[in-house]
Point group: C2
Chain length 431, copies 2
C-alpha cells in the first residue's frame, strides 16, 4: 500500500527529504517495507531555483492542495518559524493527517497545543528532526530510556555555536573573526542571532526536557545566555585550568523541580562532550538505571535532518507512531514541570575580573564572595602587560547562582575593577 | 490492563529486571502507561542467596510454570548461553508469547531460527539488551537510521576488554596484571575467555551487522582476534604515533559485500571512540544521509542492561513491538549477507618486528613488503637496550590484509627476526 506524503516547505531540509523520497524509493521500501510517494510540495516562491531532482509539477503555492487532499496521509512540515507553520500543522491534524515536523521553534512555543490537537484527532506528531538533526534522541528519550527516571540532560545542540567555539579554542581567534569565518563557510546564517544568543538551543532544550521529565516546559522560564559575549581570553584561561567551553543546554532534576538553562559552560577537557568539535551535536542523558548515555552526530544540514524526518515518516506509515502516540504518556503530558530558578542552582563558577594592580583589591573581592558563602577553589593571576588592570581568574567551589551573580554586581561596583567581570559556569560529572 | 511477565533466569540482569518490575511499578506506569506485573521467575538453584526485594514465592524451578501459563504474555529470557535458553525461547514463541531476550550468544548463533519462529507465531523478539547494555543501539539501527544505507558500524562492545586496554594504556601495566586487577574489581569474569578472545564482541557484531545491513550473518565468517596477546610495548609505540588501542567490532559495506571483523585496532587518539575508557561501550554508525552518529553508555551490568530489557518489555506491552516486527523487513530478513573475507579488506597496519641489530635487515624487510604492494608511511626504531634485538616499528599505508599477513609470515622466517612480529590494524575516518 502506498502512503502519500505532502511536504510543507522546500528549503535545505525540505529539498533533502523530497530528493530522498523521489530518488531512494527502492532503498526506503527495502529497509522500511513502506511504499512512500511524495505527492505535493508547498513552496512560497515559484521563481526560486530548486533541485533538478524534483519535478516542478509537484510544487504548489496553495496549502489547500496538501491540507485538503484526502489521499495525502502524512504532512511533513519543514517550513520553520511559528507562522504559518502552526496554522498549517493544526489544520493537517484536524484533517486527520499524521504530522511530521522538524520545527523546534514551533514545538518549543506551542508544542502543548499541537500535541493536544494530535490527541484529539487520534493522530500523532513525529518530531525526531526537531532536536539533534540525525541523532535519534527523541527515540532514545521516549523509548530506549522509558524505564528510567531521567536525572539530567546536557546537550551541545547548536552546531553554529559549537563550530565557533571550537574554532576559537583551536586557533585563539576572537569571537567576531570566528563568526565571520563560520558565515563564510556556511556554518552560520547571515543573521546568526537566534543561534549565537542561545535561543535555538533553548527551543531544543524545551523539547528535550518535556520528553525527559514528562511535563510541559514554560519556555520563558529557561535561563538563556549565548556565546556572543565570549572573550577568547577566557577560553585560554579555561584551557590552562583544564577546561573547554561549550554552549550547553542543561535540564536537571532537583527533587520535584527541574532547572533549565542554556549558557556557555566549562567542561573538563577529557570529558567526551569536551571532545565534540565543529558543527557536531551531542546529548548526554543520565537515567537512574541506565547511568549516562551519550548521543553524537550531525545536528543540522539537509541530509542528516532528512534522515530523522524519514524515520518519522516510516513510523507514521507503519502505524507504530499513532499507536505509540496514543499509548505513551511521555508524548502526551498535560501538567507543567515545576521549575527551579537558576538563582537556586548550585555549580562551580569561573570568574575573571580586571583588577587594578594595587594592594587590598583581593581582600575586598574575597570579602564580597565570602559573605555570600562562595569559597575559592583555584586562582590564577598573571603579571600585568601594558595595562594597569590585570586579569584575576577565580574558580569557585559550588555556590548558588544567585549568590554569585549578586556578588559580581557588587564586585563590579568596586573602585579598581573594570567591569563587567566575566563569568562562565562550570559543569561537573556525572553529566 | 495488566501485562503479566515471566522471567527466565535470575542472575545479575534478571535480578535487576525483577527488582525494577517489583519496586518501580509507579515510575514505569507513569512513564510508559503500562501496568506490568512480574508473575514467575525461573531459577536453577533454590539454595542460592537472592535479592531480598524479590518474594521467594515468585521463584520456580519448573519452566512450564512460565511457558504454559496462559496469563503470562511476555517471556523475558535472561539466562544467557545457548541451551536451554534456545529451547525455552522457541517454546515461548510457539505458545504465542512475546519474547524479550538479552542473549547475544543465542541470537548470534541461532537468531535466524528464533526470528523465524517469532514471525510464524505472529509474535516478536525484543533484543535491545543483547548489544551495548543501556545504549539503545538496536532502536537506532532499526528505527532512527531506517532511511539510511548503512556504510559502517564500528563498536567498542565489550566492557571487560575496554577496561583492560584502558588500564594498560593509562598505567603501562602488562596485560596479565591488568586482567588480574579487572577480575579483582569485578570488571572481568573468573573465566574471561569469551571476553578477551573477542568471542563476545563477535556475538554482538553478528547482531548489529544483521540489523545494519539487513541480512543473516554467517557467524563463523567473522574474523575474530582478541586482546589476550596484546603487549603493553605496542600500546606505548602506538601512543608515540598518536594512537590508542581498542578492541573494535567492525562491519563495513564494500559494494555488495560486507566485511566483518573483531580485532585490537589503533584509532587516532583524538577520535571520540579513542576517548571511550573503562568499562564503557560506544558504537559509531555511518549512514549515507545521517553521516556518522555515535552511541555511548554502559555496556553491561545489571541495572544498565535492565534499562534496555524494560524498554523492550514496554514496547511489547504497548503492542508497538509486534506491529513493528510484522512490518519492518530489517527485523525479518531471510537472505544471508555476502561476506568479504578479511584478506581482501584494505587498511593501514602497525607492525613491530624484533630485529637483530645488523646491516641489511631493513633492506630485506622492505623488500618483502614492497613485493606485496605494501608501502611504509612511518617508521620508528629506538636504540637497543640490553638486547641484541631491537624493536622496529612500521606503520604501513593501506594494503590488503592478506598481503600483510603473507608478508609477516615471510618476515618471521628471516634469520635475524625474533618472531612473532606484532601486528595491529589501524582504522581511519570516516568511522
Amino acid at each position: 500500500m502506498t502512503t502519500h506524503i505532502g511536504l510543507l516547505g522546500c528549503g535545505t531540509v525540505g529539498a533533502a527529504v523530497a530528493e530522498m523520497l523521489l530518488t531512494e524509493k527502492t532503498l526506503l521500501a527495502r529497509r522500511s517495507g513502506q511504499t512512500l510517494a511524495l505527492k505535493r510540495i508547498l513552496i512560497r516562491d515559484r521563481a526560486k531555483a530548486r533541485s533538478p531532482a524534483i519535478p516542478t509539477t509537484l510544487y504548489t503555492t496553495n496549502p489547500d492542495d496538501i491540507l485538503n487532499d484526502p489521499e495525502i496521509r502524512i504532512v511533513v512540515e519543514v517550513m520553520g518559524g511559528v507562522n504559518p507553520a502552526k496554522t498549517f500543522s493544526l489544520r493537517a491534524l484536524k484533517a486527520g493527517k499524521l504530522l511530521v515536523t522538524a520545527n523546534k521553534h514551533l514545538l518549543a512555543l506551542h508544542g502543548a497545543q499541537i500535541f493536544r490537537a494530535a490527541a484529539q484527532a487520534d493522530s500523532c506528531v513525529g518530531f525526531e528532526a526537531s532536536c539533534g538533526g540525525a541523532i535519534p534522541i527523541v527515540l532514545a528519550l521516549t523509548r530506549g530510556l522509558v524505564a528510567n527516571e531521567i536525572q539530567q540532560v546536557v546537550g551541545i545542540v547548536n552546531g553554529t555555536c559549537n563550530y565557533i567555539l571550537s574554532e576559537m579554542s583551536a586557533t585563539g581567534k576572537s569571537y567576531s573573526v570566528a563568526l565571520a569565518e563560520a558565515q563564510a563557510a556556511g556554518f552560520a546564517e547571515p543573521d546568526p542571532t537566534l543561534d549565537v544568543t542561545g535561543g535555538d538551543s533553548a527551543h531544543k532544550l524545551a523539547i528535550l526536557a518535556a520528553l525527559a521529565f514528562g511535563g510541559q516546559v514554560p519556555f520563558g522560564r529557561i535561563h538563556v545566555s549565548g556565546i556572543n559575549h565570549i572573550d577568547d581570553m577566557d577560553l585560554r584561561f579555561g584551557r590552562e585550568l583544564g577546561y573547554v567551553c561549550k554552549l550547553l543546554a542543561i535540564a536537571e532534576k532537583h527533587g520535584q523541580s527541574i532547572s533549565l538553562r542554556v549558557h556557555p559552560t566549562f567542561i573538563a577537557r577529557q570529558h567526551l562532550l569536551g571532545n565534540v568539535n565543529g558543527s557536531f551535536n551531542a546529548i548526554a542523558v543520565v537515567g537512574h538505571v541506565s547511568g549516562q548515555t551519550i548521543y553524537y552526530g550531525r545536528g543540522a544540514g539537509g541530509r542528516p535532518t532528512a534522515s530523522a524526518v524519514l524515520a518519522d515518516i516510516v513510523e507514521a506509515a507503519m502505524g507504530t507512531a499513532p499507536l505509540l502516540f496514543k499509548k505513551l504518556p511521555l508524548l502526551n503530558h498535560r501538567a507543567a514541570l515545576r521549575i527551579l530558578p537558576i538563582e537556586n542552582v548550585s555549580s562551580r563558577h569561573y570568574l575573571r575580573m580586571q583588577v587594578l594592580d594595587r594592594p587590598g583589591m583581593l581582600h575586598q573581592i574575597t570579602g564580597i564572595l565570602g559573605q555570600r558563602g562562595i569559597s575559592l577553589a583555584a586562582m590564577v593571576q598573571h603579571e600585568a602587560r601594558n595595562d594597569q588592570y590585570v586579569p584575576l581568574v577565580i574558580m569557585t567551589h559550588a555556590a548558588p547562582d544567585g549568590n554569585v551573580v549578586e556578588a559580581l554586581t557588587k564586585i563590579d561596583r568596586l573602585r579598581g575593577i573594570r567591569s563587567p567581570t566575566r563569568h562562565i559556569r562550570v559543569i561537573d560529572p556525572p553529566f
